[in-house]
């Protein structure tokens, strides 16, 4: 079912005036696309949901600062990207826990069960081998480069939109994207050679 929503400017103006329903509509309008972007960055449904939820909280908090000089989606992509980077930093600074360590409960020890976030067999068969190889190579990129690659190649954003979203000069976006692509090329060439050997 195709849903139509009011223009972002209208929703934002109402939300800035304190209309919570307008903000809820803004969430509904953008949450799915935001989730797909976050999923492409994180490859993890749970983490993607966290990124999106956190991003909307920041949008709500900072909406009074949004002057409409850029499109809302551009501003929102910036916040989403920052949330992803911040959550990743937090994860890295957390103390690690051994997966082998059992949980102590009043009823005795429990083995730690880790949910497997990987694709189901059906989903796996839908993806080509090459697609998985590209996805794996992108996951190896530093987070910032990964965000730019996903923005350009998956979200189909232009260089100008990416520059606006990340608040970088367009030349910097182009050179960083080129570098990210060169890194990916190296990784994929290695994978191709492994396929040949295997």
């Amino acid at each position: 079912m195709l849903e139509s929503y009011p223009d972002d400017r209208v929703l934002i103006e109402r939300a800035q005036g304190g209309n919570r329903e307008a903000f809820n509509t803004l969430i509904r309008k953008h949450e799915r696309r935001a989730y797909q972007y976050a999923y492409r960055l994180t490859s993890n449904p749970e983490e993607a949901s966290d990124v999106v939820a956190e991003a909307f909280v920041r949008v709500f908090s900072a909406l009074h600062n949004f002057k409409g000089q850029s499109a809302f989606t551009t501003w929102f992509y910036r916040i989403l990207t920052n949330c992803f980077l911040d959550i990743r930093k937090r994860e890295k600074s957390r103390p690690t826990m051994s997966l082998e360590a059992a949980l102590q409960t009043p009823d005795g020890e429990l083995e730690r069960q880790i949910e497997d976030p990987s694709l189901s067999p059906h989903e796996e068969s839908e993806r080509s081998e090459r697609g998985r190889s590209v996805e794996a190579a992108v996951e190896q990129l530093p987070e910032y480069q990964r965000a730019m690659i996903v923005m350009y190649h998956a979200e189909m954003m232009s260089y100008e939109e990416i520059a606006d979203a990340l608040d970088l000069p367009i030349g910097t976006v182009k050179s960083r994207l080129n570098r990210a692509r060169l890194s990916l090329r190296e990784q994929l060439v290695k994978d191709e050679e492994l396929f040949k050997l295997g």
């Binding site: 797909q36 909307f56 909280v57 910036r78 190889s133 080129n178």
Partner: protein
């Protein structure tokens, strides 16, 4: 054109955005360098493969909207609690009080001078982020003295949103004024053009309440200490979101108190601008 330079042009050549002259030079290089040619062919394959990223999608969780609403409700609840109780607890969060306003003013004056606004040696005062442009001699707020110069951008450390105008800081005009007219201490990022690592500043609010009581990070500590001592805490650290246990601080002296809170891993100093600077070893 050397090989490294040629690689820098891979994307532009692929997209057809190189000008004619440069394109011809690039092609000549490709034609005479078999290894580079092979690299470029591999690059073309990579660009083609990258289009498959569009296919990566996950089924949107059925409860995503509810999760967002729950997070938002929690944020609003915590905001209300923080405003009501002077020592309210604050759940660890990257959000901040939406009503806070941080006014940033441009670099103002050199040390020990008494120059007038129109004097060519002075950087003009730029009002950014709201508020009227003050006169030079009515500069308010804290004066952050920078030791690296260039175009300075102040951003909200949470959203990345720019606060105010970009300001040019020079050796002659090295100060950046920071004033927080909001209800709680604010955490901002100060970026200087050409300098890789930004600094972070926790700016106290004039009559602010306790903040970030349960935020167990360097940032959380900086916000609490800035509000406690009424002076900005400047962080020269690689990661302000790194974990740091919450410590009870008893010292009245800001340098002693901040050192006590942060531990031996940090060097703390109070500079001539009276701000507390923290450096990580």
């Amino acid at each position: 054109m050397n090989t490294d330079k040629a690689r820098e042009y891979f994307s532009s050549y692929f997209e057809g955005s190189l000008d004619t002259g440069l394109s011809q030079t690039f092609e000549r290089k490709l034609n005479t360098d078999a290894e580079l040619q092979a690299e470029y062919r591999a690059f073309e394959r990579t660009m083609s493969q990258l289009s498959s990223l569009r296919e990566i999608e996950s089924e949107v969780p059925f409860d995503l909207h509810d999760k967002i609403q729950a997070r938002l409700d929690l944020h609003l609840f915590e905001q209300k609690r923080a405003k009501k109780a002077p020592f309210a607890l604050w759940f660890r969060t990257l959000g901040f009080a939406g009503l806070a306003a941080l006014a940033i003013f441009g670099a103002i004056k050199a040390i020990g001078t008494d120059k007038a606004v129109g004097d060519p040696g002075m950087a003009g005062v730029l009002t950014t982020g709201g508020g009227d442009t003050p006169k030079m001699d009515e500069a308010k707020g804290f004066q952050l003295k920078l030791d690296q110069f260039g175009e300075v951008t102040v951003r909200d450390a949470v959203t990345g949103a720019q606060k105010g105008d970009v300001v040019n800081v020079t050796p002659e005009t090295p100060y950046l004024s920071l004033e927080n007219s909001g209800a709680q201490a604010e955490f901002v990022k100060v970026e200087v053009s050409g300098v890789k690592r930004p600094i972070f500043v926790a700016v106290p609010a004039k009559n602010g309440s306790d903040v970030a009581a349960e935020d167990a990070t360097i940032r959380g500590a900086a916000l609490r200490l800035a509000q406690k001592y009424g002076t900005p805490v400047v962080l020269n650290v690689p990661d302000p979101m790194a974990a740091l246990p919450i410590a009870t601080v008893k010292q009245n002296d800001p340098v002693g108190g901040v050192s006590e809170a942060l531990g031996d891993e940090f060097r703390v100093e109070q500079r001539k601008d009276n701000l507390i600077w923290v450096h990580q070893h």
